[in-house]
Symmetry: none
Amino acid sequence: MVLPANRKRARSDSEKEARRGAILDAARRLIDQDGFDGVTMSAVAKEAAVSKGTLYLYVHTKEELFLALFVEAMEQVVCRIEAEATSVTLIEVMGRVPAEVPLFVPLLARLVAVIEANVPDEPLFAEKRRMHTMGARVARLISNVTGAPEDLARDASKALMLTMQGAAQFDIAARRDLSGVPDDLRPAFEGQEFSCSFPLAARLILSGLTPSSAVN
Amino acid sequence: MVLPANRKRARSDSEKEARRGAILDAARRLIDQDGFDGVTMSAVAKEAAVSKGTLYLYVHTKEELFLALFVEAMEQVVCRIEAEATSVTLIEVMGRVPAEVPLFVPLLARLVAVIEANVPDEPLFAEKRRMHTMGARVARLISNVTGAPEDLARDASKALMLTMQGAAQFDIAARRDLSGVPDDLRPAFEGQEFSCSFPLAARLILSGLTPSSAVN
Amino acid sequence: MVLPANRKRARSDSEKEARRGAILDAARRLIDQDGFDGVTMSAVAKEAAVSKGTLYLYVHTKEELFLALFVEAMEQVVCRIEAEATSVTLIEVMGRVPAEVPLFVPLLARLVAVIEANVPDEPLFAEKRRMHTMGARVARLISNVTGAPEDLARDASKALMLTMQGAAQFDIAARRDLSGVPDDLRPAFEGQEFSCSFPLAARLILSGLTPSSAVN
Amino acid sequence: MVLPANRKRARSDSEKEARRGAILDAARRLIDQDGFDGVTMSAVAKEAAVSKGTLYLYVHTKEELFLALFVEAMEQVVCRIEAEATSVTLIEVMGRVPAEVPLFVPLLARLVAVIEANVPDEPLFAEKRRMHTMGARVARLISNVTGAPEDLARDASKALMLTMQGAAQFDIAARRDLSGVPDDLRPAFEGQEFSCSFPLAARLILSGLTPSSAVN
DNA sequence: TATGAATGAGAATTCATTCAT
DNA sequence: GATGAATGAATTCTCATTCAT
C-alpha cells in the first residue's frame, strides 16, 4: 500500500480516531481555560488546528462534543472506582475519584439541563447506552463489595447518581470568586465543593448497605 | 391584594406588589407554555400586558426573574412541608410536596448552572439569604420531627438538598417525549421523575436519623 | 402676603430661578463624576432632589440642559477675558481662561455635533443669540486691545472660535487613559490638552494683529 | 479590483478587499441619504447586499466602520494636497480640497467626540498611526513648499488640524435648513461653511510662514 | 476530504420623555 | 405645581451551522 508522502487527509480509521481525539483534547483545554460558556466552536477548531468545516466532520453538534467529553470522563471515573474500591475503601473511593477526574464534575453539572437537552436523538441514545452500562457496572461493584443484594445495590447506585448530580451543581457555586461575598453568606458558598459535599452524602447513603467497618 | 386595572399606575406599595406578582405569573404561564428556553422578555411583557420598560422596572434581569420565581416556589415548598410533616409522614411529605409545587422542580434543575450563573451579585445575595434561611428551617424541622441532634439534622438537610437537585435534573430527562426511544433505553428515562427518584433517595438518607417507624 | 409655612412649590420667579440653578448644578456635578455620556436625566433629577416630572418643567430636553450649561460657561469665559485682558496679556489670557472655567472645554467639544443637533429651534435660537452677542464682545475687545480695525478683529475672533473648537476636540483625546497606549503613539495623545494646543494656535492667529510686544 | 458577483465567496485577498470596499461604499451612500445618526448596521448590511454576520466579518464595530471611512477620506485629502500644492497655491489648495472630498468634513466633525470615543483600543491605535503618518506628510509638504523650518511647519500643521476640526463643526451648523431661522440670527449660520471659514483661518495661520506672494 | 466565508435569527436592555394622579 | 410610573422604539452584535470552492 503506497501512501502519498505528505498526506493531509485523515483517511484511515486510526487517523480519524486520532483526529477526533485531538478535537476532544482541544475542547478540554478550552473549557479549562475559558470556562464552560466561553467555549465556541470556532475556538475549538482553531485550538485543534482544524478548520470549522472539518470540525463538523467529526462532531455533529457543540453539545455532542460536550456529551462525548462527559462520557469519556465518566468512563475514567468508573474504571478507577472499579480498580480501587474494596469493601473497606468503597465510600472513600467513591467520594474521591469523581472529583479527581478532570472535567467530570463540571460536565456532570450541565449534563441534563444544558447538554443533553440539545443533543439530537440518535447520538444521545448511543451515549446514553454507554452511560447505562457503566451505571450497571457500578451497581454490580457495590453489590460485590458490600454484599448487599442486587436490587438494593441498584437503588443505592441510583441514589448516588442523584446525589452526585446535586453535588456537581453545588460545586459550581462553590468555585465562584468569594471576595465580595458578604460574611453571613460565606457558608452558602464555602465548603460546598464536590469533594466536601458528595462524600458526606455518599456516606449517609451507603452506610445502610455496608458493614459498619466500611462506613468508617 | 388590589390588582390595578392593568392600564393604571401602581402608586401604592401594595399595587406595586400586585403588579410584580402579575409579571411573575405571566412568566410562569410562559414557562409552562413554551418551555424554559422559549421564554423571552418581550413575551413576558406582552403576556403581562405591560410595556418592556415597565417590565424592567419590576425585574432587573431575565435571570433575576427566574430566580424570584424559584424562591417563591421554594417558599411554598418549605411552608407546606412545615405544615404537613410529622414524625410519621416526614419522608412521604418531603418526597411529595416538592413535586407538587408548580415549577419548583424544573427551576431547581436550572438553578445553579443556568440561573444563578447569570444573576448579578447584589440580587443574588439577597435571594441566597432567603434560601439559606429556608434551609435552616428545614433542618430545624427535621431535628424536631426525628429527634435527631441539630448537627446531624443539618447534614441530612444538606444531603437532601443535593439529592433534590439531582432528582430535579433527572426529572427533565424523564419528561421528554418517550416515543422514539428504543426499548432497551426506556429504563434510562422512565421512572426517573422527581416523584419517583427523590423519595427513594430521601428514604435512604433519612432512615439513619429516624426511628424505624418513620422510615416507612 | 402670607406664605404657607412649609411650601414645597416654587412659585415666585426667584424661587424658580433658584431651582433651575440647582438643576444645572446637579448636572455639572454629574458630568464631572460620570463623564458626558454617563449622565442620564434620571440621575440629574435625583441629584437635584427633584422628580423627573419637575425636571422637565425647568428644562425641556436633555440637550437643552447641556446647552444652557455651555452658555453659562461661555459667559464666564468672556467676562473673565474682558476683565483680565490687556494689550500685553491678551494672548496669554485667551489661552488660559477657557481651560480654567469648569466644563467649558468638554461642552464646547460636543457643542455642535452632539448638543445643538438635538435642541429644538426655539430654545436653540435663544441661546445662539446670547452666544452671538458674546462673540461680538470678544471681537470688540480684540479690536480695542490690539488696535486692529473692527473687521480684522472680527475675522480673528472667528478664527479663534474655530481653533478653540478644534482644541476642545483634541482635549478629549488627550484626557484618555494613556497606560496602554503604545509608545510610538504617545505623541498623538500627549500634549494635546486644550491648554497646550490652543495657546499655540492662538498665538499664530493673533500675532498678525498685535504689536510684537503682545505676541509674547 | 475584482468585484465578486455579490453572492459569491471572497476567497482571495483581493476579493476580500473588494468586498470590504463594497461595504464602505454602502455606508457612504447611507450617510449621504439618512444622515449620520440615521445609519444602522442592519441598513448597511442590506445596502451592501450582505448578511449582518458577513458585515461584522469585515468590520468589527459600527464606529470602526466610520473611522475607516474617515481615514480613507483623509488619505484622499492628503494625496490631493500633495499633488496640487505649490508655493503659490498652498493656501488655496488647503482651503479647497478638504471641502471637496466627500464626507471628509462631516466625519471630521464627529471624529473625536463621537467616533473615536467608541472605538476599541487596538483598531483605534492602528488607524491613529495612519493618521499620524499623514500628519507628518502634510508638515513636510508645508516645510518644502514654504521653505519654513521643520518645527515651525509642524506647529503650523497642528494648528491647521485644530482649525480644520473647528471649521468642520461649524459646517454642520451651516448646513441646517435656514428657512425658519430669524433674520438676526442668519449670520450665525450662514457663511460658516467649511469652505468659507477654514480658508480664512488657514490664511491667518500660514501667512506667518510663507513669503507674501503665497499668502494671496 | 478540507476549508473558512457566509449566514441570519434572535433577544436583552436603556433611557428620554409623557401623563395619570 | 409636583410626582414617578409607564412607555416603547430602536439597535447592536454573537455564534452555531452550512455550503461553495
